[in-house]
């Protein structure tokens, strides 16, 4: 099939080879190519818009509301959407829109390490990144090295995967205590086995390729082969998987917050917002519980659509 590709018109015989234009792709063309790729799939486009919406409001949160998430309007607790508070207020009179978008910030844009130290990169993002680092390394080592290393790692990870995820989260958080760092840690522990499995299976396939043999005959180190030769070729499925995992992570954060095991108050957390708001649903103020639930749902669905769309589209290219 490779002969059917129209990419080149090059000539492969020993003699005359016509000169060819240089193929240099700028960052810009790459970006537009990526966008075109997503554009080709309706699913991915819808997903991208949902995700971009939340990223946008999270980044520009301070500019999008006159309130802070902690400011209390004593006179107007538990009201519905109004002119002053577009989404309403919670039981302490805090503006729900402000809490919602600052909550998105914690998920996607910044992470409260301590009360005073906030680092860039949302909690869910950090959770996935650290899990990716650990899981990818384990998967690469298992897959490339094989033998007993593989055997032991995989059995341990299997054992972890046998525990229901939510239970695992609760055990870890109960043991470690509620804090953003611990949420990241819990996500890492929960996410690693799945990522490691995926990367291992990709590695098992890629390591049989002849370019890996070529690297070995050059006497390259195992680390070089794993991270420079194998990993870049596994990136497609890993990126798709990571997107899905950000979705799970957001969901998990919500669940932990709901159970009171998430990021401790007063920082605005969607899960604890739902937990608090739940008490007032029957008394006629569903808003405080509704908005954060919707937020979680749209963001998670958006990420899933994006990941699915990209996966389908890349399958079609093969």
């Amino acid at each position: 099939m490779s002969d059917g590709e129209q990419a080149t018109t090059a000539d492969s015989a020993v003699d005359d080879i016509p000169p060819l234009k240089r193929d240099r792709r700028s960052v810009f063309t790459r970006l537009t190519e990526g966008l075109k790729f997503i554009w080709a799939s309706k699913t991915a486009t819808v997903g991208l818009f949902l995700v971009l919406f939340w990223v946008f409001v999270a980044i520009f949160a301070p500019l999008l509301t006159p309130y802070t998430p902690l400011e209390q309007d004593w006179k107007n607790p538990n009201i519905g959407p109004s002119k002053a508070h577009i989404l309403g207020t919670d039981e302490l009179g805090r503006d729900l829109w402000a809490r919602l978008i600052y909550g998105a910030r914690v998920v996607l844009v910044v992470m409260p390490v301590t009360d005073n130290l906030w680092i860039p990169g949302g909690t869910a993002i950090w959770g996935v990144i650290v899990a990716l680092l650990v899981g990818t390394t384990l998967g690469l080592v298992s897959g490339y090295h094989g033998g007993w290393v593989d055997e032991i790692t995989m059995r341990l990870l299997d054992a972890m995967m046998a525990v229901p995820i939510i239970l695992l989260y609760m055990i870890i958080m109960a043991a470690l205590g509620a804090s953003a760092i611990n949420v990241v840690l819990a996500m890492t522990i929960v996410g690693t086995p799945g990522i490691a499995r995926l990367v291992r299976s990709l590695t098992l396939d890629i390591r049989t390729r002849e370019y890996i043999r070529a690297a070995e005959t050059r006497g390259e180190s195992a680390w070089y082969i794993m991270f420079v030769e194998i990993l870049p070729n596994a990136r497609g499925p890993i990126i798709v998987d990571a997107m899905l995992r950000v979705g799970y992570a957001i969901f998990a954060m919500g669940t932990l917050g709901f159970l009171g095991l998430g990021i401790p108050p007063p920082s605005p957390d969607w899960g604890s917002m739902v937990a608090k708001g739940r008490e007032f649903i029957l008394s006629g103020s569903p808003w405080a519980a509704l908005w954060p639930s919707l937020a979680i749902a749209t963001l998670v669905v958006g990420l899933n659509l994006l990941a699915d769309g990209i996966r389908e589209e890349s399958m079609r290219y093969q």
Partner: protein
Amino acid sequence: MDEQAHEKSEVVLDVEHLSIAYETRKGDVQAVRDVSFAVREGETIGLVGESGCGKSTIAYGIVNHLGPNGKITEGHIRFQETELVNKSQAELGEIRGNNIAMVFQDPMQALNPSMRLGEQLTEVLTCHRDISEKKAWQRCVKMLKRVNMPDPEDVMNRYTHQISGGQQQRVVIAMAMLNNPSLLIMDEPTTALDVTVEAAVLDLIETLKNDFNAANIFITHNLGVVARVSDFLCVMYAGQMVEKGTVVEIFKHPSHPYTRGLISAVPKLGESKSDSVLYPIRGRVPAPANRPQNACIFAPRCDYATGECLEARPSMVQLSPDHAARCLYAKEIETRPKTTRRKPRVFQIKEAVAKQAASDECCLDSENLKVWYPKAADSVVSLFGLGEKKYVKAVDDVSLRVAKGRTLGLVGESGCGKSSLVKGLIGLEPLTGGKMQFLDIDVKETVTARATELIREMQMVFQNPDSTLNPSYTVGTQIARPIRRFGTVAKGQVRAEVERLLNAVRLPKTHYDRLPRQLSGGEKQRVGIARALASRPDLIICDEPVSALDVSVQAAVINLLLEIQHSFGTSMIFIAHDLSVVRYFSDDIAVMYLGRIVEIGPADKIYDPPYHPYTEALLSAVPIADPTAAQKEIRLSGNVPSALNPPTGCYFHTRCPRRAELLPDGGAICEQQKPPWQQNGTGHRILCHIPIEKLMEMEPVVHAREPNANGSVIAVDS
């Protein structure tokens, strides 16, 4: 060709002006254009051409399996006088019934791995007609016998993975023949098989043709194969038929430049680099989207092209009642010089190669090398000898020597340990035993423990162009890596060095920034060669470097390797399953069987008697691209035995066709004692009990071809 029989027999399939297109994102692309041919009862028509020329598309068009995006845009397909084009799937099913059968390259495409073979075979019968299970079963067993399947009753109860590739293909053929089809289409049915197995399957196809009187379409890219089985030939190029005629006619008087190109791109069995030159066809098959419409489709690659060729699409020129070619100059082409192009560079070095004295300096010397694998848990081999600790003796006691600047060829059926041997040499597998000296240094370690200076002196070229390069990095980066790692040149000059290497493998500098997916198969292989050259090694190991390439490109890569060897004085180990290619390329040849070398010596001595009985069988299985060549027919029975449980005495005794004939007691000694080396002059050794005098008396496998038997075809030194 018996004219009269030919006239009488009935036309089974008649294809007229067939055009087929695929819908793609970029619009319709025409994969097949205006193809006409007819197949008669009891006749085999061969479709040849390189990959992407539309051969499979025609086959799928006939059986209406073009897939959702393929469609027949023009023409007729008449099967037993009924039109097939524009009929619905249901109607087609009715017309065709079980009358058209198809065999694919990969037998696993037709077999279900989770069903017993017996069930699959009987299902073919019971599903279409009223027949009792028992009767069906019996017929299947009978059919398996017909296709020379050993132990047919037992095979019926096995699963696909429990039989070998050649046997799987036999089962598929048996399956196809069960319904007694009037038309049998085979798409590269032997491409995935070893030469010995291929020869047996081709014999089978030949006998079945005579017995069943079916019309056959045989698709292949291999001229040798097609010469053996077909009566008629259609040469396909870029979706068009460029030449058709009887096999004998076409091989004797190839009249289209493409056909001539194909024939002179492959070495004939027995030719060597010192007595002939391979001519690659420049360029490559154009993709369907950019094929010339109103010009000769071959013009961009044709050496004879003139302005007229670009003005209109030539029509078929009738050369004789049975022979036509789509070329303006078809009638005179034979009188033209072989090529108007300047000689391949190889010409100039050819003489030098011929004169090259047997170098005495040794590059690599191994003694009793062993590469044993602890029994793999899930291989077929492990079905036997469960329990105790066993080894697969992939390489056992191999001693060989590669002289500086020379090439050692390695041949043998798949699974005989060629790749394991080179892996052991290069250090990808630990050596279980034996000694190895490389550049006068004792080497025992695997590659990770070797000194960098040693590693850089031994590099490798791989088989599969699609996996030899890392898809994530540009060509330049990949060639630069070994240069940087081994510090071949100073830091600032890496780019210049890469460009020099690109030039050495005849690629333009602009390929520096290309990604592998933007290259053709031949180009990728060149980059792989450049990468191996980058550390300026003394020894390059080529593991089937050309077997995944189209023939026209193959010639270019072989010429390139020869050139490199000449200009850099590199020693080479060359593995290929094509014995003609190995003979052409190598100075010395080692024949391996079951992990051992059974014959080793200078290339010309290996291809002439005395032969080891195994070598003789291998040679007689080589498909020869000359329908008139007389070749001995020696077929090996059975499979290569398990390397876990090699036979006693001579490993080859289970299949040896010669021992009963040339040894007393039917060769009982072969079962008991390991054979000794028989010396035939210096450097030629044969591992066999048969005394050398008797081996000397063997007939040559291929009868000496008359000089220039097929005229212009053989490269003449001008």
